[in-house]
């Protein structure tokens, strides 16, 4: 009837707009390292599928309803001398129809939604790699109870194997967000939440805390490093050296030196002197008050305020994603953490001298 040509006309205008929107949505995703629109794991794909289902329905409704609105605005604008419009008060049939149609569309969204809710709530099987995620103000700790690894900042996962994250917090509520692989899960003190995923590609991806957690909430990022099975095995072996979960972190200096030389492919005696000098500064500068470190008396501690630094040199960033791991950045951080990350809980007992900082930088970088 008289509606049909109008709909056709507006469909011609709106369809390209809608298509463009979707293209922008999907096309730009590549340029955003933290995007949710380019899933790299099974959980995230499930989520993406539900999201795209709602996007298509929403776009259809958007075009029809906004189209009807725009049509009415253009068509029924006041014309001088026009008679008073018909004083309609409603139309029961029409009103029933436009109650039922949205309800039906919602049902079509609800069915896959509920299916996905139950699918994502399933616990992974025993073959999954267990990782404990612990939120801290303002960094993330990762523990691998089966592999006996304690680390922070970089979450290494083996591609192709399901990873089950068991998550909690040492202080306030945080939210662990891995956009490319799953979604978010809030972490609560004295409670464990979980989320799982299986990475289907290798690479380094970023994620960050998504629940406001205090002054440095904005700088509480981490990296997910998806390794090939071989890379993951190598990483596991190197991280186990000096782990607080193995023999209480006890390891002789010479064994540590051998491991570090192997990890750095450098067997020169220079390594020994850097290690000796660095350890002295690490102890004298007060670092051990908050950080576990292999070869120090605190190597076996697991409840300290700061992250375990035994393999800090292998991590991608400093201060929870604030700076890339370079010598200059590490030096800036050690000179004055508060200038890099205002409000950070790392307080130096006394300022470090330039010599001490460069000794520490060299020492920490060796701990791969």
């Amino acid at each position: 009837m008289f509606l049909r040509p109008a709909i056709r006309r507006y469909a011609r205008v709106w369809a390209p707009v809608a298509l463009l929107l979707v293209l922008v949505l999907v096309g730009c995703a590549k340029d955003y390292p933290q995007t949710t629109l380019a899933p790299k794991g099974d959980f995230a794909r499930l989520v993406d599928h539900i999201f795209m289902t709602t996007v298509w329905w929403a776009l259809g409704v958007f075009i029809l309803v906004e189209g009807a609105l725009v049509y009415a605005i253009v068509k029924f604008r006041h014309k001088p001398g026009a008679a008073e419009p018909a004083q309609t008060h409603g139309n029961t049939t029409l009103e029933i129809v436009w109650t039922i149609i949205p309800a039906a569309i919602l049902a079509l969204i609800a069915v896959p939604t509920v299916r996905a809710i139950f699918r994502t709530a399933q616990e992974p099987g025993a073959e999954a790699l267990q990782v404990e995620v612990i939120g801290h103000q303002w960094w993330w700790e990762f523990r691998y109870p089966d592999l006996k690894i304690v680390t922070a900042g970089d979450l290494h996962v083996p591609m192709g194997q399901t990873v089950n994250l068991r998550m909690t917090t040492a202080d306030v509520v945080h939210s662990f967000w891995i956009p490319q692989f799953a979604g978010k899960r809030d972490v609560f003190p004295r409670r464990f939440n979980n989320i799982w995923f299986k990475a289907d590609t290798t690479g380094v991806f970023s994620g960050q805390c998504a629940e406001f957690c205090g002054v440095e909430h904005g700088r509480m990022a981490f990296r997910v490093v998806s390794d090939s099975p071989e890379e993951f095995a190598a990483w596991t072996a190197s991280q186990q050296s000096g782990s607080p979960m193995i023999n209480g972190g006890n390891m002789t200096d010479s064994a540590i030196a051998i491991a570090i030389k192997a990890a750095n492919h450098d067997t020169s005696a220079a390594v020994d002197s850097v290690l000796a000098r660095g350890k002295a500064v690490f102890l004298a500068g007060g670092c051990i008050g908050c950080h576990a470190m292999e070869g120090t008396p605190m190597a076996g501690m697991m409840q300290l305020v700061g992250p375990n630094l035994s393999h800090v040199g292998s991590r991608h960033t400093i201060a929870a994603g604030t700076l890339p791991m370079t010598d200059e950045n590490l030096a800036a951080w050690l000179h004055n953490p508060d200038s890099v990350k205002p409000g950070v809980l790392m307080k130096l007992p006394r300022p470090l001298t330039d010599d001490e900082v460069s000794a520490l930088v060299a020492y920490l970088k060796l701990h791969k």
Binding site: P33, T54, A72, K79, G90, G183, A210
Partner: protein, 605 residues
């Protein structure tokens, strides 16, 4: 004796001026104007906070403000816009319009009404005074425990937030009781419930929501205050408490609060669209019942703010389905608005433009809302800029556009002068463009991984381009309100008087002079149907003549009183005792409150 009464009457209703007359006023129209002016001032403060946020985020790794200041800015922006801008702007319309629309001379409890305003003002001042002590609240408008506990927020920041919200809550509850009783009791003869103007209906539902939702936040805030100051452990896990309990309590209040912010806007738009379409509201009954249904369901969806907390699949399913269900009555409203303008004669005056834009923007906000009603999808979207985009489309694109429509529509009634149409249209286009440029890109930025409440972001995440665009949009929005201020100023200076019925209105307030006399109606109206004024004009075959002057002789109105402000001051002082940590201040506040109530009770009417 009769002569004495006559001698007194004109003096009683003479135009009252001066500061004292405003402080002691119990006239619902003056209180409405006070609400509006105060709320607009807070709206500008909240807007400036938003612009500072936008400057900080315009580029990656900026250091325009410190992280601490940024956290205070976004907390105060949210708290201010919700409690000090949108709610009291709605309260301005409740105050000014409800008695006029139902044909009453004032609200049921005029002095309680004055007290509500003063309590609101003091609450807003206490909350904002925190800036002077460098202790502005910094934990978000949602104040999630256990971050807000003493251990993690040792400063006075959170105490300011708790105390400010408690004071404001009393203002809201007192006002809600007042308007509830007013609407139930004081309607004109013949105005049955289903003949009430739709704005009054939506306001009525809002009062019910306020009465049911605010006690919950009051209790939660008392618990948090006791945790912080008296050593309880309601939300402290080490003492057996639970931070998730806070989230449930907060959102049991927080989600109905969303409807408290939007239902008055629905009411305004449902009044404006018919008048400028020259057609009655389409599906009046469906509009009323969908409003009731939305409000009812609004109490069963709170946990959709908490899908990421891991509630388990059954709770997720329930809250997801109820949330989706809310889209049905909301859709009914949108279709009825389109049905209202369909087949009409649309006059694009400024209020109409804002009302139409409201419908267009609200559709977008509603659709993005359906997207995160799905818990798996919400696991990606929650706490990102996608959600920021969503709720600004419903709160700004919805509430603020509708309230602005209302401001242009009822301005002539309130002040007896017309706002300038040219400047009004400039305001409209700047606001519409600025709004979309600010908030539409946030959908993409959020989906592409930008979380909320971060004071900056690293360059490698590539959020810089769209954030810069958003900042330009935000300043365009700011500019649009400058145009509005210029418009008001220009109108203030002009001598042109507005007629009683400039828009060919349908409701009772257009039958009386602009601005109305203190007593509103010289003769209380009798109503025989909906759109009573249209009915009358149709019978008379044209516009009504200007209403004649009436001196108000013989009409009894409540006399001014300063006890409401004294009582309000007592309430504020009582709560401030928790800020200074000196119990004598609390006691002084209680005594002052009782003095105010006692004196008020025995004051001659």
């Amino acid at each position: 004796m009769a002569t004495t009464a006559l001698d007194h009457a004109p003096a009683h209703h003479a135009e009252k001026t001066g500061l004292w007359s405003w402080i002691t006023t119990v006239d619902h129209k003056r209180i409405g104007i006070l609400y509006g002016a105060t709320a607009f001032a807070f709206f500008l403060i909240g807007g400036i906070e938003a612009l500072l946020i936008r400057i900080q985020l315009a580029q990656p790794d900026q250091k325009f403000v410190s992280p601490e200041t940024y956290n205070q800015l976004f907390t105060m922006h949210g708290t201010t816009m919700i409690f000090l801008a949108v709610m009291p702007l709605s309260a301005m319309f409740f105050n000014y319009l409800i008695p006029l629309m139902i044909g009453a001379r004032d609200v049921a409890f005029p002095r309680l009404n004055a007290m509500s305003y003063w309590v609101f003002l003091f609450g807003g001042l206490v909350l904002n005074s925190s800036w002077l002590f460098h202790s502005a609240p910094d934990s978000g408008w949602f104040g999630y425990a256990n971050l807000t506990e003493k251990q993690y927020s040792p400063g006075a920041n959170v105490d300011f937030w708790i105390v400010g919200l408690q004071i404001l809550g009393i203002a809201s509850l007192a006002a809600a009781v007042n308007f509830f009783v007013t609407i139930v009791q004081l309607r004109a003869k013949g105005m049955r419930l289903m003949r009430m103007p739709i704005f009054v209906w939506m306001s009525f539902i809002t009062q019910v929501l306020l009465l049911l939702a605010f006690p919950v936040i009051t209790v939660a805030l008392v618990m948090l205050l006791m945790d912080r100051q008296f050593g309880t452990h309601f939300f402290i896990p080490a003492g057996g408490g639970d931070p998730i309990l806070w989230q449930h309590l907060f959102w049991v209040f927080g989600h109905p609060e969303v409807y408290i912010l939007i239902l008055p806007a629905f009411g305004v738009v449902s009044e404006v669209l018919p008048v400028f379409s020259r057609k009655p509201l389409f599906g009046y009954a469906a509009m009323v019942f969908s409003g009731c249904f939305i409000a009812f369901l609004g109490f069963g969806v709170w946990s959709h703010h908490m899908f990421a907390t891991g509630m388990g699949p059954f709770a997720d399913t329930f809250f997801s389905l109820v949330t989706m269900l809310i889209a049905v009555p909301t859709g009914v409203k949108i279709f009825n608005w389109i049905g209202t303008i369909w087949g009409g004669q649309l006059h694009f005056k400024t209020p109409m433009l804002f009302a139409l834009a409201f419908v267009a923007m609200f559709i977008i906000g509603g659709l993005s809302g359906v997207m995160h009603a799905s818990p798996p999808a919400d696991l990606q979207q929650t706490d990102t800029y996608f959600v920021v985009a969503h709720f600004h489309y419903v709160m700004f694109g919805g509430s603020i556009f509708a309230l602005t429509a209302g401001a242009y529509y009822w301005y002539p009634k309130m002040f007896g002068k017309m706002l300038d149409e040219g400047l009004g249209k400039l305001h409209f286009w700047l606001m519409l463009i600025g709004f979309n440029v600010t908030f539409f890109p946030m959908h993409f930025v959020g989906l592409n991984g930008m979380p909320r409440r971060v004071y900056t972001y690293p360059a490698e995440l590539n959020f810089g381009f769209w954030n810069l665009i958003e900042t330009f949009g935000a300043f365009t929005l700011g500019l649009s309100f400058l145009v509005f201020i210029v418009n008001v100023y220009k109108t203030w200076r002009s001598d042109a008087k507005a007629p009683a019925d400039p828009w060919n209105g349908a409701t009772l307030e257009w039958a009386i002079p602009s601005p109305p006399p203190e007593f509103n109606f010289a003769e209380l109206p009798v109503v025989v149907g909906r759109d009573p004024l249209w009915e009358l004009k149709r019978q008379r075959g044209g516009m009504l003549p200007e209403p004649p002057f009436h001196s108000g002789q013989g009409i009894h109105m409540p006399s001014p009183s300063y006890w409401p402000i004294v009582t309000a001051l007592g309430i504020a002082v009582f709560f401030c005792g928790f800020l200074v940590g000196f119990p004598y201040v609390n006691i002084a506040g209680v005594l002052l409150t009782f003095l105010g109530i006692y004196s008020w009770a025995f004051e001659p009417a």
